[in-house]
Each structure stands twice: as structure tokens, then as C-alpha cells.
């Protein structure tokens, strides 16, 4: 079962919104929407694992940290994200991280 982690991303949210609209207009059932989302989870997990190959560094100050249900949630302040090509600065960022050690969660397709 792939992580549902990526549903709260631009990609995932736009999918959820679209599904909601279709449910509203009763073109699909909620059940169907759920299945679509699950499929999305698989696809995005797979894509990230296989199609992305780049590295980022970041540095900042840790404001809060939380570890619950094997999920880390951090809030950092004054962070700089560096990649080879560019630098991104933000005043505040929230990081949500699921356990990636035994990522058998990637799509098995």
C-alpha cells in the first residue's frame, strides 16, 4: 500500500478537487474516487522513486518537531534550500516525512 502522503501536494490536491467536482455532479461515486486516489498514490510513489534523480540540501533553524505514528513533522524557520542550480529561501517551511526505510510501498506494477 503506497503512502497517501503525496495527496497533499499540488498534484494530489488538484486531483482530489477534480474528483470532488465529479462526485458533486454525480458522475462518479465516492468509492470510485477513492480508488482513483489509491491509484494516484501508487503512481506518484513510483514516479518519485524512479523518475526523479536530483539532490537538495537545506539548512535552517528548527522551530518544532514531532514524531508520531512513525511520521516526522518539522517546522523550520529561515531555511535555505540549495540545489546545484539554484537557491530558495523561505521564512517557514513544514516538512512531513513518512518512514522511507522500507519503502516497499512503491507501486508494484
Amino acid at each position: 500500500m503506497a503512502y497517501q502522503l503525496y495527496r497533499n501536494t499540488t498534484l494530489g490536491n488538484s486531483l482530489q478537487e477534480s474528483l470532488d467536482e465529479l462526485i458533486q455532479s454525480q458522475q462518479i461515486t465516492p468509492q470510485l474516487a477513492l480508488q482513483v486516489l489509491r491509484q494516484f498514490d501508487k503512481a506518484i510513489n513510483s514516479a518519485l522513486a524512479q523518475r526523479v534523480r536530483n539532490r537538495v540540501n537545506f539548512r535552517g533553524s528548527l522551530n518544532t518537531y514531532r514524531f508520531c505514528d512513525n511520521v516526522w513533522t518539522f517546522v523550520l524557520n529561515d531555511v535555505e534550500f540549495r540545489e546545484v542550480t539554484e537557491l530558495i529561501k523561505v521564512d517557514k517551511v513544514k516538512i512531513v516525512a513518512c518512514d522511507g526505510k522500507n519503502t516497499g510501498s512503491n507501486t508494484t506494477e
Binding site: Q39, N45, E86
Partner: protein, 370 residues
């Protein structure tokens, strides 16, 4: 790392193709599937100004969606209008609520939150003429030297700031005249509003309506850029309650500076017309007030309304970013390490939304101090 249209597009394609079977199994038409894809892509395009998707049809859909946005903007405008309107209504007593509060907002001195009901009560009870009322309300417009304070009895006392900073209070009747004079100068700015409001606020607190208000001189300070209303004492009932702390915070600095020159209405002591009783009572409260004054000044009018306190709250989330997006990183962790207060993050497979844009990484390593 940047938003990769190709990647997203491929994900969409994969998902759509994968769910096609599901759709068909459910007896849902292919058309709906296409609609889902269109909706999805359009939303993606909306969220970032990237990547024309395929057909013009989709662009048209985008335009339709964009039309909704201006409506939202209009709401914002309305909101602003409402804020500005109250100024015009100042002269009317009935609109005290509207006047004072919005004025304070405009004055950029956040804190004034006066309980409307109380103000109104005072206003109604006041013997002030309409002009006086107007003057009072008009005060927020920014007359530095003159402050009007509503006593629990409903009388408006004007607190005048002398050049040397001494504050004097005189009864409304006198103030009427003064107010009239002052009004023209006061105008825009709403500097005073917060002060007045703050001043007024505590009064209702627990003062019997029958007591006169004695405001001791020098309790209201207008420092150069800051206007602080030091707790004023109310005769009779509880001096503690009578304290009025208005910390006129960062009101437009220009105005206070300007206000010093023109009208300086000074009334010695507690006002010539004040009764003997008031005078006596004033003296009693001197010490208490001075202490409170320092305290209240420091606390920014905490004595006053509870809503004011809410503004004291220091929240990390406020004003951190101008962008609507909260910057989020969704990823998986390989290892999280901590040594004393030094944290190290080893992350992978993440999608980041920073400053409104999407980024992706396969690995991320970070350091932070807690």
C-alpha cells in the same frame, strides 16, 4: 528539482490510464474519465503559470475558472471600503461603534478594541452635544494633543496634552468648544482613535455611571511617536477599574509630532469645572495610577478589553510569508539524527511547494538547530 511538467504529465497519464479500467468496471463512461483528466490538468495549470497543456479548449476552461477569481477580489475590496466608511460616520453618536473601531484600524495602531456596547452606553448617557460627540469621534482622526475620554457617567472629558507632556482633563462642556476648534485639525489619521478607544474601554468596566471622571494630569503621555494613555482614575468607584490604559502604539508618527504645535488645551489640575469631590478623589489615586500606568504601558493596555490581549499573541505564523502558500515538503525520511540541539535530516522522494512553486527531489539532506 523544479516543477517538471514532464514528470507531472507522465504521472497524470499513468493515473488516468490506470484508472480507466476501474472506471469501466464501475460502468462509468470514458467521457467522465476525460473530464477528470481535463479538470486535473486545468487545476494544475491554475496553480502555477506553467506549461500550456494540450488543447485550446483547456485554456478556455482556464479562463472560465479565472473569472471566478475577480469575484473573490471584490470581496476584499468591499472589506476595505467598510473600513473607510466609518470615518465619515464619525459625527453620529449612534455609530460610535463603527467610528471608533475602524478608525483605530486605519490608525495602524492595532490595539484598540473598545467594547461597542459600553461605548454606546456612555455615549448615550453623555450630556454632550452632538458637536461634542462628533468632536470626540473625530478625535481619532489624529489630534494628538487632545484626547477625549468618556467617563462612566457619559461625560466626555478632553484630555489635552500640554507641550510638556502634562495631561489635563477638562469637562465636556468646555471641551465642546475645544473640540470644535480641534476638530478641524484632527482629521485624518485616526491617531487618536486607538487611544480614545482604549481610554474609553476601561471606563465602562465597572464604574458607576454617576461618578465623574477625574483624570489626573500627566497620566496620559504622548511621547513623540507613541501615544500612551496612562490609566486615568475615575472618581468614586474603583480606581483600579478606572484605570485607562491606552497604549497608542505605533500610531502615525507624523501626526503626533504635528499635533504638538497647534491646539494645546490645558486645564490645570483636573479641570476648572470639576467638583471638589473629584479633586479630592484624584489625589488619592495618584500613587495607584502611577504604578498602574507603568505597568499598563508596558503591557500595552492589557487592562482594557480582552480582545486587545488577543493581539498581543506572538504567533510564528503571522506575517512570516507574504505568499498564501505555506511552504510544505512532503517526503520520506531515511534517517533523522539529533545531537544535543543539532538535527540532521536525510530525506528522500520529496515534493516541495516553496513560495508557490513546486520542486521535487530524490534526496535531501538538511541541518537545523533547535
Amino acid at each position: 528539482m523544479q516543477w517538471k511538467p514532464k514528470l507531472y504529465r507522465s504521472v497524470i497519464e499513468d493515473v488516468i490510464n490506470d484508472v480507466r479500467d476501474i472506471f469501466l468496471d464501475d460502468g462509468v463512461d470514458e467521457q467522465v474519465l476525460m473530464e477528470l483528466k481535463t479538470l486535473w490538468e486545468n487545476k494544475l495549470m491554475q496553480s502555477r503559470a506553467v506549461d500550456g497543456f494540450h488543447s485550446e479548449e483547456q485554456q478556455l476552461l482556464l479562463q472560465v475558472q479565472q473569472q471566478h477569481q475577480p469575484q473573490q477580489q471584490q470581496h476584499h475590496h468591499h472589506h476595505h471600503h467598510q473600513q473607510t466608511q466609518p470615518q465619515q460616520t464619525v459625527p453620529q453618536q449612534a455609530q460610535t461603534q463603527q467610528v471608533l473601531i475602524p478608525a483605530s484600524q486605519q490608525a495602524a495602531a492595532p490595539q484598540v478594541i473598545v467594547p461597542d456596547s459600553k461605548l454606546i452606553q456612555h455615549m448615550n448617557a453623555s450630556n454632550m452635544s452632538a458637536a461634542a460627540t462628533a468632536a470626540t469621534l473625530a478625535l481619532p482622526a489624529g489630534v494628538t494633543p487632545v484626547q477625549q475620554i468618556l467617563t462612566n457617567s457619559g461625560q466626555l472629558l478632553q484630555v489635552v496634552r500640554a507641550a510638556n507632556g502634562a495631561q489635563y482633563i477638562f469637562q465636556p462642556q468646555q471641551s465642546v468648544v475645544l473640540q470644535q476648534q480641534v476638530i478641524p485639525q484632527m482629521q485624518p489619521g485616526g491617531v487618536q482613535a486607538p487611544v480614545i478607544q482604549q481610554v474609553l474601554a476601561p471606563l465602562p468596566g465597572g464604574i458607576s455611571p454617576q461618578t465623574g471622571v477625574i483624570i489626573q494630569p500627566q497620566q496620559i503621555l504622548f511621547t513623540g511617536n507613541k501615544t500612551q494613555v496612562i490609566p486615568t482614575t475615575v472618581a468614586a468607584p474603583t480606581p483600579a477599574q478606572a484605570q485607562i490604559t491606552a497604549t497608542g502604539q505605533q500610531q502615525p508618527q507624523a501626526q503626533p509630532a504635528q499635533a504638538q504645535a497647534p491646539l494645546v488645551l490645558q486645564v490645570d489640575g483636573t479641570g476648572d469645572t470639576s467638583s471638589e469631590e473629584d479633586e479630592d478623589e484624584e489625589e488619592d489615586y495618584d500613587d495607584d495610577e502611577e504604578e498602574d500606568k507603568e505597568k499598563d504601558g508596558a503591557e500595552d493596555g492589557q487592562v482594557e478589553e480582552e480582545p486587545l490581549n488577543s493581539e498581543d499573541d506572538v504567533s510564528d505564523e503571522e506575517g512570516q510569508e507574504l505568499f498564501d502558500t505555506e511552504n510544505v515538503v512532503v517526503c520520506q525520511y531515511d534517517k533523522i539524527h539529533r545531537s544535543k540541539n543539532k538535527w540532521k535530516f536525510h530525506l528522500k522522494d520529496g515534493i516541495m511547494n516553496l513560495n508557490g512553486r513546486d520542486y521535487i527531489f530524490s534526496k535531501a539532506i538538511g541541518d537545523a538547530e533547535w
